[in-house]
């Protein structure tokens, strides 16, 4: 980019410039007129561009929900970002839907049967219509799944549906899904939102997302500003109590809090700095609720590192970390110490696994046993040095500092490196790390262990970024995929959890709680473990004026 440089100008006479002023002659009037014209033109441009009256967000009965980022793609066949998935869940129905206990319940399906380990038959409800009045039939379900599977449509969900061999329409309201091989976790994929068969196949042909059949319908979509939904009056479960919902994009957490204080936001879920909650409690009439969630915070370990490949070193690290203290002081009790990836809310959770309570002395013994004695006792020289990678968010940095201090007491020097998300994630994917911290969000089926810890799931084939390899775990994970009996699967994944708690390819930190801040006039919201917005279809305002 260039800057104006005065050498570009050619002055008629340099001497003139200092000896003359510009007020003489007829040109003054002309120039004055020019200034006036410019001034008027500027004002027209400025004011012309402005909207004089505040638009939107003032519809009575609408609840304004503050969200951190702009939902990018509401079409359920293509949505991957959290806000698109959550808002999409209110616009679109799916065959099955997770309830507040993470158990799959019927939604569009009236009933379903597993004919054999590879075949599912679904019967649809007959009174369901899309927002445009068109009935929702088996053809729409078939179209939705097939459009995801078509390679040319580039759906990010295509890989999830790979086990699906064919969908047969057995009648206007009856479908058969045939899998290529038994694949127990496939059930989770019956929660994809259904769009009309008349929709465009790809995500780019249409400027607006297709219509859905959910409790709310899309009213307006303002990129970077807000998504407005209005209640679907002919929803098959009954019209929602709220007249509508406005999802207002407010990127700054503190500003969301101020909006709430002013009353221009009536509901927020998560994405709040733990430090501000006491302020909200004392300065607003908010009802604040923190409920156990499923988001799992952990420290990832590179098992190819010559020091970290020793199990005793990893166990020493686990003993060295004082989770309770970090949870109490840094995240203000918004977490529960974790024992593994699956939280107690998951049906496959196994609680009888090795726990690693804070015990620095035991950690020191383990390090000595592993062959890494402290070279000078309490002296300045460390046992060894490691790097710790994290994103550059303030809270993450503070957690990293706390971990550094805790490990320093054992004689381990931790070098903290923080990066913006893209660079950080690229490094993690490439295995370019010693230790890092991240969180897994939205865990439901325990088959996720296959993606994270199977030896064949090393990137780019999966997310085994630390290169963990245990043949016993591999076998169990393969069995867990094909076992169709829930009790058998629970047993298999219980065993996986016990082995991982001993091997520690991850050091579990905590499961985050979901924090809901809502105006006291709002009632009926039931938090979901994964932070879903589904329960907004059942909330209502008490008699007082709603926050809009």
């Amino acid at each position: 980019m260039t800057l104006i440089k005065h050498e570009n100008l050619t002055h008629r006479n340099k001497r003139d410039m200092v000896s003359q002023n510009f007020t003489s002659g007829n040109s003054r009037l002309i120039r004055n007129n020019t200034y006036h014209r410019l001034l008027v033109a500027s004002l027209i441009v400025v004011l012309g561009g402005c909207r004089f009256s505040s638009s939107s967000n003032h519809n009575p009965g609408y609840l304004v929900v503050g969200i951190e980022s702009n939902p990018l793609q509401l079409d359920p066949r293509y949505s991957t970002d959290a806000n698109s998935v959550r808002i999409g869940g209110l616009i679109y129905n799916s065959l099955l839907r997770s309830d507040e206990n993470s158990r799959l319940q019927l939604e569009l399906a009236e009933n379903w049967q597993k004919m054999d380990p590879q075949t599912y038959i679904f019967d649809l409800r007959r009174n369901t219509t899309f927002h445009n009045g068109q009935p929702l039939t088996a053809a729409d379900v078939k179209f939705t799944y097939e459009s995801i599977l078509q390679a040319k449509n580039l759906s990010p969900k295509r890989a999830l549906l790979k086990p699906l061999q064919a969908i047969d329409q057995l009648g206007p309201y009856r479908l058969r899904f045939r899998l290529a091989a038994p694949h127990a976790p496939f059930l989770e994929h019956f929660t994809i939102g259904i769009v009309p068969a008349s929709s465009a196949g790809d995500a780019v042909s249409s400027a607006t997302p297709p219509v859905g059949s959910g409790p709310f319908m899309l009213e307006s979509l303002q990129s970077g500003e807000a998504v407005t939904l209005k209640a679907n009056p002919s929803y098959w479960e009954g019209k929602p109590s709220l007249a509508g919902l406005v999802f207002k994009v407010v990127p700054d957490a503190m500003v969301r809090v101020l909006e709430f204080k002013k009353g221009s936001i009536g509901f927020m879920q998560n994405d709040l700095e733990p430090d501000v909650l006491p302020w909200i409690k004392h300065n607003t009439d908010a009802a604040i609720e923190a409920r156990q969630g499923t988001t799992f915070q952990y420290i990832g370990i590179n098992l190819t590192h010559p020091i970290l490949m020793h199990k005793k070193v990893r166990q020493a690290l686990a003993h060295a970390i004082d989770r309770e203290s970090i949870i109490r002081h840094l995240i203000k009790d918004l977490g529960t110490p974790a024992s593994g990836l699956l939280s107690p809310l998951n049906w496959a959770y196994e609680g009888r696994v090795n726990q690693w309570p804070h015990d620095p002395e035991k950690a020191k013994h383990l390090l000595d046993e592993a062959g890494f004695p402290d070279p000078d006792g309490d002296g300045p020289r460390p046992r060894f040095k490691l790097s710790f990678k994290s994103t550059n968010l303030d809270l993450r940095r503070r957690i990293a500092e706390a971990l550094k201090e805790q490990l320093q007491r054992l004689g381990i020097e931790l070098e903290i490196r923080t990066y913006e998300w893209g660079t950080f994630f690229s490094d993690i994917k490439k295995g370019n790390f010693h230790l890092y911290s991240l969180a897994w969000v939205g865990i439901q089926d325990p088959d996720i262990y296959h993606q994270i810890f199977h030896s064949a799931s090393v990137p780019p084939n999966g997310d085994n970024r630390g290169h963990y390899s245990n043949s016993q775990v591999d076998q169990l994970l393969e069995k867990g995929r094909t076992a169709m009996d829930a009790t058998e699967r629970k047993r298999i994944y219980g065993e996986v959890q016990r082995i991982l708690a001993e091997d520690l390819p991850y050091i579990p930190l905590w499961w985050w709680k979901n924090v809901i801040v809502k105006t006291s006039s709002l009632q009926g919201f039931v938090p979901y473990p994964d932070g879903d917005f589904t329960a907004l279809k059942k909330v209502s305002f008490r008699s007082q004026t709603p926050a809009q």
Partner: protein, 307 residues
């Protein structure tokens, strides 16, 4: 003049070409993979490869560059990788918000700084002068991420006069414009005051006084107008950087402008969108520079361009 403008307009092309080339290669050098962002954790390696192939991201960088330039010549900036929308549409949606904010911030800066700097220069050494200098110091020292929330707390929460954030009517525009304009007002006050004092010592000002003109005429017609050149330069530079760089203010005030869009594009490694945003920013800078040259001539007719 016309010839000069034509020459300058033609010179915009190589500058734009240079900026776009630089950004194209830089953004591809930065670590991070848009395919990972688009497909998420669950996609298979084969799917990632397929998507990479279909978006031509597997092609050598020079081939991608050629195809980018070809598209650009056709006026096609491509599609956003992440938002599933055309880059042109996204920019068209967001640019008015940024222009609106920048123009209002500029207006506020001028409204504050011109009278303040003139008063400070006229009454040099007085309380007003010291106050103006203090204002400059404070205005320059206050970061937008601090000033924005402070103004929100005072004007939105305590007094209830304005909305907290978001884009809407004129009331929504007040606080972000004030936040953005305050820093610029501080710079302009300082520069203009200095420039006025410098000009006030010139011979022609003394001559004006000797002619018996009133102090008002001397300051407003002779001194201020001669002092404007340096201020116009600063204003043009500031205006360009405001168009491109009001990212913090746009984030704090949830303002859906081009700055936030650019940051989002960089974070998600949305190459076409980054390139589109940079194109707009580069064009803005160049146009503002061109307009500044025209302004120079309007303010000081002795400045001419070309032969």
């Amino acid at each position: 003049m016309k010839r000069y403008l034509l020459q300058r307009s033609l010179l915009l092309l190589p500058t734009l070409f240079g900026a776009l080339t630089l950004v194209f290669f830089l953004i591809h050098l930065v670590p991070g993979d848009p395919i990972e962002v688009m497909l998420g954790e669950t996609a298979s390696a084969a799917d990632k490869d397929e998507l990479r192939r279909s978006l031509a991201l597997d092609q050598p960088l020079m081939v991608q560059y050629r195809s980018f330039l070809t598209g650009l010549l056709r006026g096609d900036l491509g599609r956003s990788l992440y938002e599933q929308s055309s880059v042109t549409d996204l920019i068209r949606t967001r640019l008015p918000a940024t222009i609106e904010l920048t123009l209002c911030a500029m207006a506020i800066a001028v409204i504050i700084s011109f009278p303040l700097a003139t008063l400070a220069a006229v009454k040099k050494g007085s309380g007003i002068d010291r106050g103006a200098l203090l204002f400059s110091l404070v205005g320059l020292s206050l970061p937008n991420f601090w000033l924005g929330p402070l103004l929100m707390i005072i004007f939105s929460i305590q007094l209830g006069w304005t909305p907290v954030s978001g884009r809407g009517g004129l009331d929504h525009l007040v606080l972000p414009s004030l936040t953005l304009g305050m820093g610029m007002a501080a710079i302009l006050t300082r520069i203009l005051r200095g420039s006025l004092l410098q000009v006030s010592n010139e011979d022609y000002v003394r001559s004006a006084r000797a002619k018996g003109l009133s102090e008002k005429q001397v300051w407003l017609k002779h001194t201020l107008r001669n002092a404007l050149l340096s201020v116009i330069t600063i204003m043009s530079l500031q205006f360009g950087s405001l168009l491109a760089g009001s990212i913090i203010t746009e984030t704090v005030f949830s303002w859906p402008g081009i700055g936030r869009l650019t940051v989002q594009a960089i974070q998600t490694r949305d190459y076409p969108l980054v390139q589109g945003c940079v194109l707009v920013i580069a064009i803005s800078y160049l146009l503002v520079n061109l307009l500044t040259d025209i302004f120079y001539h309007l303010v000081d007719p002795r400045i001419t361009y070309g032969k």
